[in-house]
């Protein structure tokens, strides 16, 4: 079988092009359906607001914010703390050779607020909350609960998706900030212990290096990541097919897609940022 294939491919360049085309087509179709998924969710929610009713109950929203946000604080804080220490140590020892270890505070602070804070938080939330959203909605889809909601005349996108997306959208920046603070605190410890930078001096160095626009960039990014992760997770959940195995596949796919998208979009964002707003 494998031999047959390896003979086939060079003989049929058309097939190769066709396969690449199919992969590309599927990719764009996915991106398109996800885009419309978000648009329809907004539309359904807006429709509801225009009727003068609350789009979803506050209790439902706060349940998700608590689970996605408050319960994620220890994980995000701890991981960022360790990463902050590592980064301070590694860069510190290199910079020490040139006698410029007082660049460490600025380096960690800028690195985290602009880049690593949102990114690490995004990756962790995709794994922790994205997976949960997909599994939950997927199970509801498989057990016909989603269809039952729709059959009652309740918009499932507004009822199920909107509170989740909004919760993650609003909480991502908060969690990124926690990540930043944890990392900077960790690097201040390392700076004090190994590079003899006093805490007061550390704060001065950070304030000197860190620009408001670094912070804004990071926060904007976080909003975007929150939206992406929640939308991907909910989309994958509601499009589950094929029972328990389907839910498993969708969950894996949700985490993989969300992490890849977060890193990809981050890169794109950085390129645009550096090229257009140097």
């Amino acid at each position: 079988m494998a031999e047959e294939k390896s003979e086939n491919i060079p003989a049929n360049p058309v097939l190769v092009v066709q396969e690449i085309g199919e992969v590309g087509e599927n990719f764009f179709r996915e991106v398109g359906s996800m885009f419309w998924f978000v648009v329809h969710t907004l539309d359904e929610t807006w429709d509801r607001v225009r009727q003068g009713r609350v789009p979803f109950r506050a209790a439902s929203f706060f349940r998700h914010t608590e689970r996605a946000g408050v319960d994620s604080v220890p994980l995000v804080g701890l991981v960022s703390f360790f990463l902050g220490m590592t980064m301070a140590l590694l860069t510190g020892y290199q910079l020490q050779r040139f006698g410029t270890e007082r660049l460490v505070p600025g380096l960690v602070a800028i690195g985290f607020t602009r880049e690593l804070g949102p990114l690490i938080t995004g990756i962790m939330l995709a794994a922790r909350i994205g997976a949960a959203f997909t599994a939950e909605l997927g199970t509801m889809q498989v057990s016909e609960e989603v269809e039952a909601i729709e059959a009652m005349g309740i918009g499932p996108l507004r009822f199920l998706v909107a509170p989740r997306v909004l919760a993650l959208f609003l909480l991502m920046p908060c969690l990124s900030t926690i990540s930043n603070i944890a990392a900077i605190a960790a690097s201040s410890l390392i700076s004090r212990m190994y590079f003899n930078i006093a805490f007061v001096y550390f704060v001065d160095l950070v304030r000197e290096a860190l620009l408001i626009r670094d912070i804004i960039t990071g926060v904007l990014k976080s909003f975007m990541f929150g939206l992406l992760i929640a939308a991907i997770a909910c989309y994958r959940g509601l499009t589950v097919k094929g029972g328990a195995a389907g839910v498993g596949n969708a969950t894996t796919s949700s985490v993989v897609t969300a992490i890849t998208t977060v890193i990809g979009v981050d890169t794109l964002y950085n390129i645009v940022y550096v090229v257009f707003f140097p």
């Binding site: 057990s143 009652m152 309740i154």
Partner: protein, 263 residues
């Protein structure tokens, strides 16, 4: 041809394909007010598809579906959602929201779709749960209920907005004969007391003949018999005869994997 609106439900030349398989083939059907139409057929013959078409969850490949004067197949989302409030659906596996208790499940349509106060909602929920005999299970989660209890809660949820039409997907499947009779009696009671129309999909003969005021048989995507129960029982259509007798000899299995397996 009658004007739309004189029937509660009307299917006009509806065809439905799932990929290559033709599930419904040019089906036309009218349901009069206060009918209890039982749709029978083999598993996978498109019975449940029929219910989903009425709800507008599936779109037919051809033809039109009406609920009263509304053409379900052409309604926009917002209007469709409004129309669905007049239709109740009881799912085969109940489809209760597993994260909410019985009270919250039944209250859901009221909370989401009406402006009623909590007190009013509570009293309606109480009334409907009483109707199905589940008033003592208010605080239980769906996972703590048996299949029959779930189905009754699901029925209470379908009734909570006082629908004009109720759709039942296999109401007695997987239930013991006694509970199944209880559900059947509930269905009859409801339509007689509250003037509701219902479409019931089932392949359980006993309950079908108990409930029905009219019976239809789906076979290979077409309605091959449509009659009141007493005439349905005397049908000479070989498919109906075989279905009623449960025999392995006859047109139903011809050419299928099952037929080959029995030989």
């Amino acid at each position: 041809m009658t004007t739309p609106g004189s029937h509660v439900v009307e299917l006009r030349a509806v065809s439905m394909n799932f990929e290559d398989k033709k599930v419904l083939d040019d089906v036309s059907l009218q349901v009069q007010p206060q009918d209890r139409l039982v749709v029978m057929g083999q598993s996978g013959s498109g019975k449940s598809t029929l219910l989903r078409l009425v709800l507008g969850i599936l779109q037919p490949n051809e033809g039109a579906v009406f609920f009263k004067q509304f053409e379900i197949t052409r309604l926009r989302r917002r209007k469709l959602q409004q129309v669905r409030r007049h239709i109740g659906m009881v799912y085969q596996y109940s489809a209760l929201l597993s994260s909410r208790n019985v009270r919250d499940n039944v209250a859901l349509p009221l909370e989401e779709l009406t402006d009623k106060s909590r007190r009013e909602i509570d009293s309606i929920v109480e009334e409907k749960l009483h109707l199905v005999g589940m008033q003592d299970s208010r605080e239980l989660m769906p996972s703590e209920l048996s299949g029959g209890m779930r189905k009754r809660v699901s029925l209470a949820r379908a009734l909570v907005l006082d629908p004009e039409l109720i759709l039942f997907d296999e109401p007695s499947a997987g239930l013991d004969p006694v509970i199944s009779s209880v559900i059947d009696e509930l269905i009859i009671d409801l339509t007689e007391k509250s003037k509701v129309t219902s479409i019931i999909v089932t392949h359980e003969m006993g309950s079908a003949f108990r409930i029905a005021t009219r019976m239809a048989m789906l076979f290979q995507g077409k309605i091959i018999e449509d009659a009141p129960p007493d005439r349905f029982r005397q049908s000479t259509n070989p498919v109906v005869v075989q279905f009623l007798s449960g025999s392995t000899e006859g047109p139903i299995l011809e050419g299928t994997q099952d037929a080959i397996a029995t030989k």
